[in-house]
Symmetry: D2
Amino acid sequence: MSNPKGKQAADRLGVGFVGSGFNARFHMQGFQAVRDAEVRGVWSPNADHARSAAALARDLDIGAAKPYASIQDMVADPLIDALWLTGPNHSRLDNLEQIVHAIESGKGALRGVACEKPLARTVAEAQRMLALAERAGLAHGYLENQLFAPQIETGRARIWARGAASTGRPYLARASEEHSGPHAPWFWRGDLQGGGVLNDMMCHSVLLVKHLLTQPGAPRASVRARRITAHIASLKWTRPPYVARLAKDFGREVDYAKHPSEDFASLMIEFETDDGQSLIGEASASWSFVGAGLRLSAELLGPEYSMSWNTLESGLKLFFSREVRGAAGEDLIEKQNAEVGLMPVVANEASAYGYENEDRHFVRVFLGKETPRLTFADGLEVVELLMAAYQSAEQGRTLEYPPPDLDKFIPAVARGTWKPP
Amino acid sequence: MSNPKGKQAADRLGVGFVGSGFNARFHMQGFQAVRDAEVRGVWSPNADHARSAAALARDLDIGAAKPYASIQDMVADPLIDALWLTGPNHSRLDNLEQIVHAIESGKGALRGVACEKPLARTVAEAQRMLALAERAGLAHGYLENQLFAPQIETGRARIWARGAASTGRPYLARASEEHSGPHAPWFWRGDLQGGGVLNDMMCHSVLLVKHLLTQPGAPRASVRARRITAHIASLKWTRPPYVARLAKDFGREVDYAKHPSEDFASLMIEFETDDGQSLIGEASASWSFVGAGLRLSAELLGPEYSMSWNTLESGLKLFFSREVRGAAGEDLIEKQNAEVGLMPVVANEASAYGYENEDRHFVRVFLGKETPRLTFADGLEVVELLMAAYQSAEQGRTLEYPPPDLDKFIPAVARGTWKPP
Amino acid sequence: MSNPKGKQAADRLGVGFVGSGFNARFHMQGFQAVRDAEVRGVWSPNADHARSAAALARDLDIGAAKPYASIQDMVADPLIDALWLTGPNHSRLDNLEQIVHAIESGKGALRGVACEKPLARTVAEAQRMLALAERAGLAHGYLENQLFAPQIETGRARIWARGAASTGRPYLARASEEHSGPHAPWFWRGDLQGGGVLNDMMCHSVLLVKHLLTQPGAPRASVRARRITAHIASLKWTRPPYVARLAKDFGREVDYAKHPSEDFASLMIEFETDDGQSLIGEASASWSFVGAGLRLSAELLGPEYSMSWNTLESGLKLFFSREVRGAAGEDLIEKQNAEVGLMPVVANEASAYGYENEDRHFVRVFLGKETPRLTFADGLEVVELLMAAYQSAEQGRTLEYPPPDLDKFIPAVARGTWKPP
Amino acid sequence: MSNPKGKQAADRLGVGFVGSGFNARFHMQGFQAVRDAEVRGVWSPNADHARSAAALARDLDIGAAKPYASIQDMVADPLIDALWLTGPNHSRLDNLEQIVHAIESGKGALRGVACEKPLARTVAEAQRMLALAERAGLAHGYLENQLFAPQIETGRARIWARGAASTGRPYLARASEEHSGPHAPWFWRGDLQGGGVLNDMMCHSVLLVKHLLTQPGAPRASVRARRITAHIASLKWTRPPYVARLAKDFGREVDYAKHPSEDFASLMIEFETDDGQSLIGEASASWSFVGAGLRLSAELLGPEYSMSWNTLESGLKLFFSREVRGAAGEDLIEKQNAEVGLMPVVANEASAYGYENEDRHFVRVFLGKETPRLTFADGLEVVELLMAAYQSAEQGRTLEYPPPDLDKFIPAVARGTWKPP
């Protein structure tokens, strides 16, 4: 932060988006609640998408956003102070390399880069992400929204203050992210995405359980993974009718008869702490959950207390009878599965899932007002845990953590060779 | 909006607070999510309070707020574009008179004034509030947070779009605001506050039920009150142990043996619509509700659908066992009544109750970017409905609406002559 | 109890049903959990219905039930010890007259008669019911299931034991019964049923709120109605599409364009107690509520505690996506309104709504093992309250209770002359 | 059933209890809703306990129960037709041996024996239980209450009928049983109980997940365990303050510094089906969960549907403020952990947890009216799964199922040699 490399400290952070899809648009919703930032640019390999996302930003009145022809152009523009990397997983590293190249070749400067989860698809890629950011002297932030969800922030603070302080630290954290499957084709392809639902969604959980178990203010290394056990399965999407549906919806490139990804993952991490205790983190991720819509949930348990979080208990419920004919949509909740019956509504998803707080935090970080709570180093740790989980699942056994040669490992799902059990 | 009277259109709205108490601090929380506004000033008759509230604003980094010695000084400062009136009910009119006097005597100018609910304590006062604002050419906004609660905004929109559009308009709305009693002494005194819980809390409900029953986009007058029936009672706070507690907590000035206010109110409004239908609004308000904490709830029902809202179903629950000893507080929820057992937590109350959206809206209104959704005219209508409700309760009968001479009416509770049934 | 008039005290009570419809079948479900009773007979004016209901009782293995040709035959059969009156409201008095006539003419004897709510359609009829039972020396029980719902029994006991004992009696009770409309045509006809939803469903609430407010063990007269205010309305079923639907479903005899019944009722009762306190009971009843299904709910509030009951929070939720095509049914919940989306399921409705406990209690009463908790005198009081409520609604004002000439009053809805406001 | 060995078919089944503790008393509550059975005897090694439990049965009016001096005496009494084995785990086999010995030595006869879960502590013991019952020609029933919980019965039926029938069978079942620790000392001792919470509580889950995944009507073997992975841990009760509390509450015999049992267990079973599909069952059990009280929960998920069950969402909630001083108790819920705050109440636990339906079923089985849904063979299968789970947990790896030599296995916890990780 101390060295903005040629861009002046400003009142407001000029933000550019690399990526223009679902995730970028979620962040744009979030920026409506962020003071001190202007969304000024969008780059996408698809120029139409960039134009459309920039128009959305202007409509939301979060900045005079315009499309850029290249990442390099955004770096070069003095109006752009920081970039939010929100493209698909397989572009992450290439995007950052372009950024760093532009900086190192003197085209421009940035105060920082924020990268959407997961940081990368393999440990090797993630190490490269961190090394690039550090080499270029960039402030870096890791975008894990769930840690910023208001209920997680508040719940964790109260549990530690009221419960753990007087009766002892929590010993069990659970987290899960479950929905009925992602929106875009590349998510479904192990070769592009780097895996299936374990990679896509459990990146949230592994960090969340560790975060909940860590005393606020204590170093992250005060809670360390010691053993890891994971399972992956294809429960739904390799059944023939669903193989056919994927082909119909996403084209021949998504062929789950030949190259399936896991749609269910279960994980247990045994942790040890600085004060010699054993803790447990349980995580679950699913693309084969059919409820009202996306369900984020977590629990934190200790000797005389417990906490539970569930985004589907949202305080707002609508009921439509069988007489109401309505078009399928996502106006009630992300990944919505019905339009009649009782339906919980998450009224402001950008707030509920943590985007508002997250984007506010990293804006303030890049303005020099706050210390980053999550950096690429956290993103790297998450990838290490996920790759160990894939190893455990492939070998069908519990692994001491870290297993050897993590940085050479590529999941069978990513290599296209996975056979569901 | 069209005539900012000498202050330049600026990027950011300079906001000053008249009042420094509980409500002002809630709005300050809300401004953390508001772009394009700077909280620059606070005035309170108690200079220490003003200093403390200004310090809070600076801590929250929502502007370089400083205390002002007078309302006139805030009006005079070109950095202040708009004022948020958040003082106690009995100061409302005096505060606005000072503002208008300062403007009319050329001391300064303002783009607008936003006034916290209720607009005034009587119809006569409310009429005077509206007249003053209009005479001074001030843009005016009425701060009814519940209409801006994300769940109300989203729920109402979806119900009308999915349910009413195909099966007919809703016919019944219910709303209630219930808690265990207010924080500051003046709330408890009918002479200062203008009434008891009916005045304090049902101002929310009467507008909310009308709002839910009104088609989005249709004029407010498309749904008109026709008959009104209200009851008020003292259920808890005139019981001797609670009379004693009030005296202990708030001093001799709050004497519920002699001058009680109602702590329970129930209201039914029969509405008629432009298209000739009869609708019903039910409202309930309580200072004698003892649950986890403040409970805001509403329902909207129509021929093939229903909506329900309850802030205590917040998605986050903490449990503390009987072994956990914790100090009484309000860290879990506003007006919290226990520290152990299962406790719902409202993680971001400023968002959940609508302050963030509300403050964002009126900032944008005063910047000329949006049309006000609520003005002092709405505030006046609310006071008219509340006064009619007091009349109905005092007379023990249903009244045609509007009853005659509403503008001369002062509730018995406000006059200190009310005897609970 | 002391004088079973010629039938021997037996191990098991022989039960006969007068009526064979929805309500009788609900009780039969309940008898599966009742020891010491055998369902041995069913009479209905429709012999096929009687045969079918008797077959159901045998299938449920609750007794060797057979259809009877007349009420007199059931009274005459020594195997029948008690009758459960479950026929339509307009047959109630006639049914009992036949019973008493059979007894008085020496055809047979009974230990007791249990009568489904409401006891009668008018105060005059209800007085006659009570007089007949007493003249014939019959033990009598009033079947108000909600007082026997396990959650009401337990909740009331715990609230009074833990809350009221140490901090004072409760002061506010609320109850409501809401669904989307009854099953059989006669319910919809004011002339047969005696009214609309106020008569049909609020008979539950008025007794429930009084019961909750009464100290366990104290006489019922320790809590007395003092003032009463009611509203009735037609919110849904006089809208033209719904008038048409009633005609289609139930035939020309149900003509809501000409002879509507209220589908919404709201009631406030102000009570006074032996110890000089003022309490409030609020009740709501609806045939215009469209949620998952029947919703029974109640609250009881006191100075430091509260209780809430909602049958739709049943602990079991099913979700079916928009891909699931299912026939409309009532397999998830009574008066079910959808087959997809999130649906709460009441797994054992006969238990949840109180039928099991209720039937067990009255069996034991008629076997001489327990004192009746509810008699026709309670049923009469309920009718008095309901008729006062209709008077209040018709006159649009609060009434001192009891109003004069209650025993001559017949609601306009029952006379077919009601015009919705 | 076909051969009641000398006792006459009777109207009512005469039931005797072996055991007089917590579990026996729960069943006695359940028998209040069971027709056709009389509880006539209780035997306990502690004669006072037997007397007290028999008195409870008489108070509940479920039969003229009396204490017996020996198991043999109960078998010999012609009034006793069937025995319910509800004693502690370490007495199970001895109890049955006495029964069989009495029968085989001609002292008396029985129609059947119902045995509380778990059937035994090891596979060898369970095999012996089954062999004894069969040798004596006894009808046998395995008492797993959760399969009879109304919500499980109804939920499973509706999911299969509405969801699986049209979109495919479910693929994932989850179940958990969590509370803050058992009541009696022997539960805590691995040597007596056979293990810790895995043995005590997961016996419910392993059968429940299999049951939910099995098509109603299909043979149990249509879903077969293929692989199993378990973890056990001591999260709470080996922390020094809790070691001390156990010693204080239960005496020196419960020494968790030296001989702890696991208080947390997690299990994944991979199943295969007759139609070649892979399914997953997840189970969790805890004595280290501190919420309102006992929490039973389950989920069942399939391609277009899901089901969730949670006993703490009971429809009845009480709130007591911090002003209410109440003695610790279990009047709100089993294993209650607080007396103030929001507390869910399970109004009729004997119904909610399945005891009523379970006892009714086995009474009817022994009267020859129904086919047993669960026999000792099911109990044996449960023990096999649990022992495989312990093996997996001890070895820290996934096991193919069944692993070799299951019948020789005794868990380290039962041998007193377990060291928590």
